[in-house]
């Protein structure tokens, strides 16, 4: 009997050292209904998986809440502007004007970015100048930006809490929690991650379901030819159907900069004049073009790369024959390149009923 404590210690040690994964906590946290992203076949086969934060999984309720918030002017100070005001579905979630006008009638200095395939932005740097990391954080800024919604998150949260609908929607999406800007932007990020465009004519061609015209095929060749368009180094290729590298480049728009772009954020002069490569999907719906919307047509864009390049210390090395303004594409190559680029547009995306105003 004198050894009894010794045996008890051994038994306790045995229990503690066992490799059990069982938990003794019976608390089951609230869990909304999972709704994983529906990854298009072309993406599944060719590129790596989308970025879904572990602390913000896609759910039916979260996406629904995010969609409602995205289209709701409650976010703006005077209840007149929603995210969708400058990111309209019919424009592939960008603005048809060069600079969007905020609630105070003040224009910004950048063209609204289109929104699609955002979950495949692997570096998660958002905005033209990459100033925000993660989609969740991106959604925070426009609400308080004085030339956009010009509101405060305190006001937004107060309105949401007093709403007849939102408390229940937040409850359904995130459980019995207090409404916060973090949860609001999580929901919006969930909705934005559902904005997937992968059904252009070229997508169907890649899947063997459509045929390119002679012009479109030649345009693809111009796009992929390093001696002609050489677009593929920055804008993807048939094996990278995002049609962007989501990286920052100076594409020769200006000899001097009034907008430093990435350089303003990084503080590195080597980044001056660099802006994110936008996707070339849905160009049929996203005019005007470039970070400042300076080009109204695709013809102007192509002419820029062909003969309008401006030299500057940070111009991308891939910009060729800069002293001649560019590679001087033939009129036929320009026309064919345009035809190919338009084959990347996806009408089913802008008409998707899931993406329209609730």
């Amino acid at each position: 009997m004198k050894n009894k404590p010794f045996h008890i210690i051994y038994i306790l040690c045995f229990i503690l050292s066992s490799c059990s994964n069982e938990t003794t906590d019976s608390y089951v946290p609230y869990s909304a209904t999972p709704q994983p992203i529906d990854i298009p076949t072309l993406f599944e086969e060719n590129i790596i998986s989308p970025v879904i934060p572990t602390n913000n999984p896609q759910t039916v309720e979260g996406i629904a809440l995010g969609k409602k918030l995205f289209f709701d002017p409650i976010l703006s100070a005077d209840n007149t502007q929603a995210c969708a005001s400058c990111h309209a579905p019919q424009n592939a979630f960008t603005d048809s004007t060069r600079f969007s006008i905020g609630i105070d009638g003040i224009a910004g200095n950048r063209n609204s970015m289109p929104l699609f395939n955002l979950a495949w932005n692997y570096d998660e740097n958002f905005f033209w100048d990459g100033r925000v990391f993660s989609l969740e954080h991106q959604a925070i800024e426009p609400v308080t930006n004085p030339v956009e919604m010009h509101n405060t998150w305190e006001m937004v949260i107060s309105r949401l809490q007093q709403s007849n609908e939102y408390p229940d929607l937040f409850q359904a999406a995130f459980g019995g929690v207090t409404i916060t800007k973090e949860l609001a932007t999580k929901a919006m990020a969930q909705f934005e991650r559902t904005l997937i465009s992968a059904n252009s004519k070229f997508d169907r061609f890649s899947l063997g379901q459509a045929t390119l015209t002679t012009e479109e095929q030649n345009g693809l060749n111009v796009f992929m030819d390093e001696t002609k368009g050489d677009c593929f180094h920055c804008h993807g290729n048939p094996n990278n159907p995002l049609w962007t590298d989501n990286i920052f480049h100076n594409n020769g728009l200006d000899a001097t900069f009034t907008d430093l772009g990435l350089g303003e954020i990084s503080g590195d002069p080597a980044d001056n004049g660099k802006f994110k490569s936008p996707s070339l999907r849905n160009l049929a719906f996203t005019a005007p073009y470039m970070h400042d919307g300076r080009f109204n047509t695709l013809d102007e864009v192509i002419n820029h790369y062909s003969e309008g390049l401006q030299d500057s210390p940070t111009i991308d090395p891939l910009m060729k024959k800069v002293d001649e303004g560019g590679v001087h594409l033939s009129p036929q190559d320009k026309s064919d390149l345009k035809a190919f680029l338009l084959s990347l547009s996806d009408p089913s995306f802008i008409n998707n009923p899931d993406f329209q105003i609730p």
């Binding site: 050894n3 010794f6 045996h7 051994y10 038994i11 040690c13 045995f14 050292s17 066992s18 490799c19 086969e45 060719n46 590129i47 790596i48 495949w120 692997y122 060749n221 992929m224 030819d225 390093e226 001696t227 050489d230 593929f232 180094h233 920055c234 993807g236 290729n237 048939p238 094996n239 990278n240 995002l242 590298d245 590195d268 080597a270 210390p313 940070t314 111009i315 991308d316 090395p317 891939l318 910009m319 060729k320 800069v322 002293d323």
Partner: protein, 260 residues
């Protein structure tokens, strides 16, 4: 009671969550891990992304130049035994100096301890790996070669600026791929430009790290003194330029050191 205590001790030990180890009785492991560290220099002066974007290097042809982007790919690291047996690490590693990624390659494979008469890797992809696989990670990195040039993947992308003979700063894009002659396209003629880099003999006795160095200046030096004034861009479809790059690349890699 002593028997019960002994039994409990044995059970405790048996169920403890310790990981197994491969140590032999003499403490020499049977299998070890191999790590490959990649560093870059310009004729001995270290080059990292912090040195990018500034004209500070002079190539063999006398042109002052900078580096703005450097990515290259290695594949199929192979351990060669003297009896002819090989252990091939069937995989690849994209080294992205610009973004400081891929500088350490630690493949998940056990390497048996012992003597090897050579360790080697392939710069780029051999033709089988280049054409017969679709690599989502490399596609996502826009590492592809256009189908009209045979498809497959880049081996290296080196870009930057240089001062040309007219004293003007212009860009260069030194991209290496499998050499392809497009003269009679769509009938394409190829010449292999991947190459094997030998690191030499090694006696593996423990987890081992190979410190591999690339002298970037060599790409412009030997045997072909590179003239950036002539060859600065549109080099992918330039068959002769690709062959020259292949020749110059033979001397670019070396084994800096081994630690284990």
């Amino acid at each position: 009671m002593k028997k019960i205590a002994a039994l409990l001790t044995l059970i405790t030990l048996a169920f403890s969550c310790s990981s197994d180890d491969d140590n032999q009785p003499n403490n020499v492991p049977q299998n070890v891990n191999a790590t490959f560290n990649f560093s870059h220099n310009w004729d001995g002066i270290s080059v990292t992304s912090t040195n990018f974007n500034t004209i500070q290097y002079i190539n063999a042809n006398g042109e002052e130049m900078s580096i703005e982007k450097l990515r290259h790919l290695i594949s199929n690291v192979t351990f060669h035994k003297s009896n002819g047996e090989t252990i091939v690490i069937d995989g690849y590693n994209l080294i992205d100096v610009t973004n400081d990624s891929g500088l350490v390659y630690a493949p998940d494979i056990d390497i048996p301890t012992g003597s090897y008469e050579n360790v080697s890797f392939t710069f780029g992809f051999n033709n089988d790996d280049n054409y017969n696989n679709n690599y989502p990670d490399l596609n996502s990195a826009s590492w592809n070669v256009p189908d009209m040039m045979g498809g497959g993947y880049h081996y290296m992308q080196l870009e930057g600026k240089f001062i040309n003979d007219a004293d003007v700063e212009i860009g260069y894009a030194y991209h290496t791929i499998r050499a392809v002659n497009l003269t009679n396209a769509p009938d394409l003629l190829f010449q292999d430009t991947f190459f094997i880099v030998d690191l030499g003999a090694v006696n593996v006795s423990n987890n081992i790290s190979f410190n591999i160095e690339m002298n970037i200046a060599e790409w412009f030096k030997n045997p072909n003194q590179w003239n950036l004034n002539i060859l600065n861009n549109m080099l992918m479809p330039n068959f002769d330029a690709q062959v020259m790059m292949y020749e110059n690349g033979q001397n670019a890699f070396s084994l800096g050191s081994i630690s284990q």
